[in-house]
Amino acid sequence: MVLKAFFPTCCASADSGLLVGRWVPEQGFAVVLAVVHFPFIPLQVRELLARVQRASQVGLAVLGTWCHRRREPEESLGRFLEGLGALFTHKPWLQLSREPDSRRWNCKVSSPGAPCGEDQVMLIFYDQRQVLLAQLHPPATLPDRRAGDATATAAEGGLAAVFHTVARSEALFQSDRFDEGPVRLTHWQSEGVEASILVELAKWASGPVCLLLSSLLSLLSWLSTWRLCRLCPLAFLCSKLCTCQQLRLRLQHLQLVFSTQKAEDPAQLMRKANTLVSVLLDVALGLALLSWLHREDRIGQLADALVPVADRVAEELQQLLEWLMGAPAGLKMNRALDQVLGRFFLYHIHLWISYIHLMSPFVERILWHVGLSACLGLTVALSLLSDILALLTFHIYCFYVYGARLYCLKVCGLSSLWRLFRGKKWNVLRQRVDSCSYDLDQLFIGTLLFTILLFLLPTTALYYLVFTLLRLLVVAVQGLIHLLVDLVNSLPLYSLGLRLCRPYRLAAGVKFRVLERESDGPLRLLMQINPLPYSHVVHNFRLPSCGCHPRQSWSSLCRKLFFGELIYPWRQRGDKQD
């Protein structure tokens, strides 16, 4: 098998020394992690490798020698390096060398049994920093740190082993060239360990802040459960209002972000980061909305416009009912039933208008306080808007329920009387239609009632149709608002930003590029990180939303509309399904 030597690009200009890394025999990978420079004491090198192996559970060894002749070729160096092969026994033994001012690389492998030839080695360059920080998606099944031994890690597939080796060997990269240690190494951090004061300060401050906030949040959640359990009608109301759902969701999110437990795996860390960014964006947008509302007295204008709009809607509904009570679209209605239904609904509208006029002095105050709630977030403001819309169109909802119930009763009556008309009946015990012999007077009354219901059907159906359409319109508007809220809740902005600015962190795989080849040198490839496409980022890291979607398919919706069953579009996941 061809031996593949993974060489870090940062070591390409390093001085001569020993190659230190991991050998994966199943794939033929020799992953070079660092170069140890002269002078060194072999015992100290072995101690360092053993220490790093204990910390990282990855089997490290001295893989070979690296020769970078800066000045005139030194013959003694060559012989010295060959002598080292006898000191650190490793099979196979890799000998890499590079000419000083040219691109000529030389690669020799000596392994027992197989002949050493130039064609048997492939040199693959990789950027150590990027490979260290990258996360492979989908990740290969990595053994966790607790199960520990070096042989278990060798069972992974392919290139994931390279990523795993580099990521686990952080202990090797802790010392830079300014340290006074016994062994001098070259790796990606040898010019100076990467750190940031702000990050360290944030880490130090996050401990007490998280503790304080998580205790506050747990107090808040305990309070909310206590109050809600005690007052029954309030609990019912809260389960119906979108605002309460949204507030509960945000409370859960904040509890997740400020929890004192450290994230166990990268997925949880991304989730926390995404949630935090989503909350911050929400609050920022809410504050922008708040400042826009309070400028130029927009709340006053809104309150002044609200009552006339509600009046206008009620007037339009009245006109619609007058139209239905006449001859709508040229259809001839049953006069008596028409008048009854029309007057019934007109009385409701009259009640509604009086209620609105009663509330009108308080509207501005209420709107002002509702506008303040936007500082909790744009999603809360939008949910409040949806709830206000639902409250203002409550009469349409009532009319829809009346119309639907009436229509449903009519359809049930018609279907059972139709069965009587044909001489059959519904057998409840056996859940099927059976034939039945009726008496003459039963047949007579049944047929009479059937005829009455049949000829009254158009009137009821028309009222039902009109009010269902109005209700569906209101539901559609509420649906749009919910979609927007869902978008803000569940979009993983931190992951998208990471994909934009640091694409190597989210890796879908790798890609290779063939570097120019000298006539008899080894094959040289450059391995780069292939970033995850944006659609996969959104799909993988989506935050779970509160699930306020219609849970039924179109066909069941049509069936319910036809038979007059009530549709509840905003059933939550926790409630029982229809």
Binding site: M1, V2, G28, A114, D119, G157, V514, L523, L525
Partner: protein
């Protein structure tokens, strides 16, 4: 060593296949697609603008003209970035894997790398898989070379 041959795709355009042989275990096949022709670009732009001018003559609204320009620009950018393939490359490295790269006219490159452990065999699927749509003779060339490399790899792995 390099080798160039010219083929044609299913719609009659000229394709050129370049074969690069790096070592016995590493080969690269590059398929160059015909470039965007000025004639078709001019034709499409003229059609869109004539239609827009016709609508403007009907409606007297200058927004139609500016939106037509906008649509043409966005459409052209979208076509170059998402649809028009410039070059497709297949790099096969013995015992590492197979890499397929498509590079679009706007410079975007999309790469897929499949590790050798996951490759059982290479077959000729329908031509619509490769976005450059080469004809069968071109596909046969690539197929034969890939099978050589795979056979070589199997031989070395059973030997070692």
């Amino acid at each position: 060593m390099e080798d160039e041959q010219s083929f044609s795709d299913i719609s009659g355009g000229r394709l050129s296949l370049q074969r690069r042989y790096y070592t016995q275990s590493c080969r690269e096949f590059c398929l160059n697609c015909p470039r965007l022709s000025l004639r078709s670009l001019t034709a499409v732009t003229c059609t869109v603008w004539l239609v827009a001018y016709g609508l403007f003559a009907l409606c007297e609204n200058s927004m139609i003209l500016s939106s037509a320009i906008f649509i043409t620009l966005i459409g052209l950018l979208g076509y170059l970035h998402f649809v028009k393939i410039d070059q497709e490359t297949l790099l096969i490295i013995d015992s590492l894997g197979i890499q397929m790269t498509s590079s679009y006219a706007s410079g975007k490159e999309s790469t897929t790398f499949i590790e050798m452990g996951k490759v059982k065999d290479i077959v000729i699927n329908e031509a619509i898989y490769m976005s450059a749509k080469p004809r069968l003779d071109c596909l046969i060339e690539v197929y034969r070379s890939c099978q050589e490399v795979l056979a070589n790899q199997k031989a070395t792995s059973t030997r070692s």
